[in-house]
């Protein structure tokens, strides 16, 4: 069947929902609750709080790098797709970047649902083969002496990056620091920029 003959996916979705709901196999209110959770409650702001805390609290940082799951659990962040979390630290010498080549495994509890670029075949196929070229396309050029480490998260282990704290942020509060942290930096395709 050619693509032009396909039924619109929005209609297929509506059709499946109507079949399951009319047989009481699915409750639309439960669907709404799932959607609300990942639209409003769980997102990259969670991870940003983790990063900011690690920047201001050296003991938390140590716990975070030793046992990510337990450390983010201290802040109440746990849940599906984050059964086991390892936090990798980016420095001036080592740059980590995360992918799932087989689907789009991603640490939902700290970063929410994955963004478009992470799910895109171009990213999934290329970041494990030519990470420097891919990072360049994202606008991140790393020095030739920086070791690049790509984590392909195809098991139930999830990865989050602890980015480098930008210069010129000594006077910022933990909350102000969290506002600087981006989703892209916590996956490893960007650095955190200092205050504008």
């Amino acid at each position: 069947m050619s693509i032009s003959e396909r039924l619109p996916i929005s209609m297929r979705t509506e059709a499946l929902e109507s079949i399951l709901v009319e047989r009481s196999l699915v409750d639309p209110k439960v669907m709404d609750a799932y959607i609300k959770m990942y639209e409003s409650d769980v997102g990259p702001l969670n991870g940003a709080k983790v990063v900011a805390k690690a920047w201001v609290d050296p003991e938390f940082r140590e716990r975070l790098l030793a046992d990510g799951t337990a450390a983010v659990g201290e802040l109440g962040f746990k849940g599906p797709q984050t059964e086991h979390l390892e936090v990798l630290e980016n420095t001036g010498e080592v740059h980590n970047v995360v992918v799932c080549t087989l689907c789009s495994c991603y640490p939902w509890a700290v970063l929410g649902l994955p963004p478009s670029w992470y799910k895109d075949p171009a990213y999934r196929s290329r970041i494990v083969r030519e990470p420097r070229a891919v990072l360049h396309e994202f606008g991140l050029d790393l020095g030739a002496d920086v070791e690049i480490r790509v984590a392909d998260s195809v098991s139930e282990c999830r990865y989050m990056i602890l980015p480098e704290r930008p210069a010129g942020t000594d006077d910022l509060s933990e909350e102000e620091l969290a506002a600087l942290v981006t989703r892209d930096a916590m996956v490893g395709i960007a650095k955190v920029a200092g205050p504008q």
Partner: protein, 221 residues
């Protein structure tokens, strides 16, 4: 299976998508409904997350790609529900066509036949008393195998030699769990490969870390 989903190292997909700083989790309303339906379909069909992943991997490649990420979630959910006899083959097509105003007859509701399956605990991680077969620093080779069912061993590491970096928590084995053939709990290892051992001497120089189940690995003498 060696399917369209196993994208690591494929070429010709073009440039990466530019990130949008304020991107929301869903672009369109139907994606929200597909997301929630897919999550619930695992429970309704009496299956599990590994079976769900496999339900997407075995989509015909055109179907896998046609409607993007949540499109494949929806089609994967349809696979789980038809496999377990919750909805009939063609039921979603027929309902869609009716909603589009076509005069088609919907297939009768089938007799459910959910798999004989019950998880021993929530999630995928499980305690395992047995000592891990490998330790950090050990040289290991990813087996050069081509299972026709579900697997989380990507093609691009098969047959290649790397070094164990870390022993990760033990987990149910996706290759059997996806087919309801047992949890087969085993150790998981983070294994590092040098990029030039994967892609040849002209490749960019970097380290690839990938988490592999014990069954995927063999010792290197």
């Amino acid at each position: 299976m060696d399917g369209i989903h196993d994208m690591g190292g494929m070429q010709d997909w073009g440039s990466v998508t530019a990130p949008a700083p304020d991107e929301r989790p869903f672009e369109e309303d139907w994606e929200k409904r597909a997301f929630a339906l897919a999550l619930l379909s695992m429970r309704v069909s009496g299956t599990n997350l590994d079976a769900f992943r496999h339900s997407m991997n075995r989509l015909q490649p055109m179907d896998y790609l046609a409607d993007g990420y949540y499109g494949r979630w929806l089609r994967g959910a349809e696979n789980l529900l038809t496999d377990s006899g919750i909805i009939a083959d063609g039921a979603v097509d027929a309902r869609t066509r009716r909603q589009l105003g076509e005069d088609v007859v919907e297939p009768p509701e089938p007799e459910p036949h959910r798999p004989d399956y019950k998880p021993t605990a929530g999630g995928s991680l499980r305690p395992l008393a047995a000592e891990p077969r490998f330790s950090p620093g050990d040289a290991v080779r990813a087996k050069d195998i081509h299972p026709s069912g579900h697997t989380r061993l990507p093609q691009y590491v098969r047959g290649r030699t790397g070094t164990v970096r870390r022993v990760q928590p033990a987990a149910v084995f996706p290759d059997t769990h996806a087919h309801f053939e047992g949890e087969n709990i085993q150790h998981v290892y983070s294994v590092e490969f040098r990029s030039r051992d994967l892609w040849g001497s002209d490749a960019e120089n970097f380290v690839l870390n990938i988490d592999l189940y014990d069954s995927y690995l063999e010792p290197v003498a």
